[in-house]
């Protein structure tokens, strides 16, 4: 089965600081079937996220899908010298999401697993 980039499937892929010590990532889907496909067939686990962002597993605060918003949320600790401090790279935390865009997801098929979904 081929793959498709998460950025091709999601309608919103963003990062943002959540207070000075956390950055949170939101992946949002307008279409429920696409959301369900990524949830069920994508590999959006803590292990994959830790390796994608080159961070220790223990720095992942939250990593889960959230049905009411048809979304995936990842929150990780910021371990630089503090938001807006010495060595800051992204004060608002809004440009850390790019690696998620390229994450490979098994391609959507029109098979029976999707025909009955959502």
């Amino acid at each position: 089965m081929g793959t498709i980039a998460l950025g091709e499937l999601a309608d919103v892929v963003r990062s943002k600081n959540a207070g000075p010590y956390e950055i949170t990532f939101d992946v949002l889907f307008n279409d429920y079937r696409t959301y369900a496909h990524v949830r069920d067939h994508g590999d959006l686990t803590e292990q994959v996220m830790a390796s994608l962002f080159r961070i220790p597993l223990g720095d992942i605060v939250y990593c889960s899908f959230f049905e009411p918003a048809q979304s995936f949320k990842l929150t990780v600790l910021r371990r630089n010298s503090g938001q807006g401090g010495v060595g800051e790279r992204d004060t608002f935390g809004c440009q850390q999401h790019a690696p998620l865009l390229g994450l490979p997801i098994p391609a959507l098929s029109t098979g029976p697993d999707l025909a009955t979904g959502g």
Binding site: P20, Y21, N30, R54, A69, G84, G85, V86, G87, F92
Partner: protein, 453 residues
Amino acid sequence: MTTGVRILTPVGMLGYGYPINDFWAAVDRGVDAIVVDSGSTDPGPIMLGTGTLLVTEDSYVRDLRPLLQAAGTRGIPLVISSAGGAGTNAQVDWMVELVDRIATEEGLSLRVASVYADIDPAIVLDQLDKGRIRPNVLGDLPTHASVHDTTAIVAQMGAEPLVPLLTEDHPVDVVVAGRAYDPAPHAAFCLSRGIDPAIAWHMGKIMECGAMCAIPKSGGVVATVYRDAFELTPISAHQACTPLSVAAHTLYEKGRPDLLVGPSGVLDVRHCTYTAVDDRTVRVQNSRFEPARTATVKLEGASPVGYRSVFIGGIRDPLLIRQIEDFLDQVRVHVGVLQPDLANGEASLRFHVYGKNGTMGDWEPHGGVGHEVAILGEVTAPTQERATAVCTSARVAVLHKSYPGQKATAGNLALPLTPLDIPIGPVFEFTLYHVMDSEGLRLFSTETRKVGI
């Protein structure tokens, strides 16, 4: 309450500008309160540390004038929270003076309540000693020394200090509040009208950003709040709230999407429903709220850690780009020899290499480098002069140091700016971003005065 309480938020941040005709059209349709957030920690600790405003005075005047006209001529209470950016007492007083000036110019007479959020360090130290300050998400507690070093401390007020100012007997026309939990002023207005806290807090969480919850985002939004539900409609006709845009905004800038922890309890949005009422309006129901057993506030404190000087320049030479990391290591060694401050750790030097990993640093998974790179040199030292001294040595070294295979012997760095070495002032860190038990403490005082004519 079949008609609902109507709250207008013209923009997510006072001073960012809003569509004026759409604002007045919303006012003409009838609203019970205008609420606007004026502060944030998004820009880091600098506003709190220096007292810098989030936008210029002119921008505040432009945004405030129609709001004050609505308050003064239509009798619509106006609430401004986290005044000025950091919401310090000084910023609250500054904004009240501005309100006074505009009211006078407009021939308005307004009763203004100031609600203050500065916190006496002695209270913080006392609570710290009693074990009533909780570790931050990194697991750290403040120390006595870090509290003493803190330039300014504020606490995010919840709804409680604001509710008595917003009751139906209309005690004041304008509230200028210091640092507040972002949803607090919206929630306070609803709580003063007897609305369920779950509805009040969920509505506040979305409304504090204005029409960030709409497509396209930006501008203003009106919430119509009932006892057990609320509805959101953007004020501009080209925008729409959709069930997904509102659900999505609920989890914006929060660490988790399902349980949102605030000063007086936890908002549980796991069972919420988001329903389209019409093409532009969404109805939200089934929010739940679990009151906290102990009242808490979040403290914010900023402390200076030195002064910064910077330089920025571009490198286009592929012979240098392919060895850029080794080259910058050599520059660091060279500057350490020239500048004892760097060698002994009094000063720090960091290079941000744009085109390689300038945005993400160690998080960058992409191993490549572009055909050109920008070097931002960042120096921090105990004084501005010493920072600039190290910065100059570093910039000169990047500009002129030789490297293996060098062919461009006239210089390594394309410098766009003069002065070449740029002093940018003090740099701060958050020494406090901690939750403190506030049970039994009266942290937020209020003063009321009449302004204008």
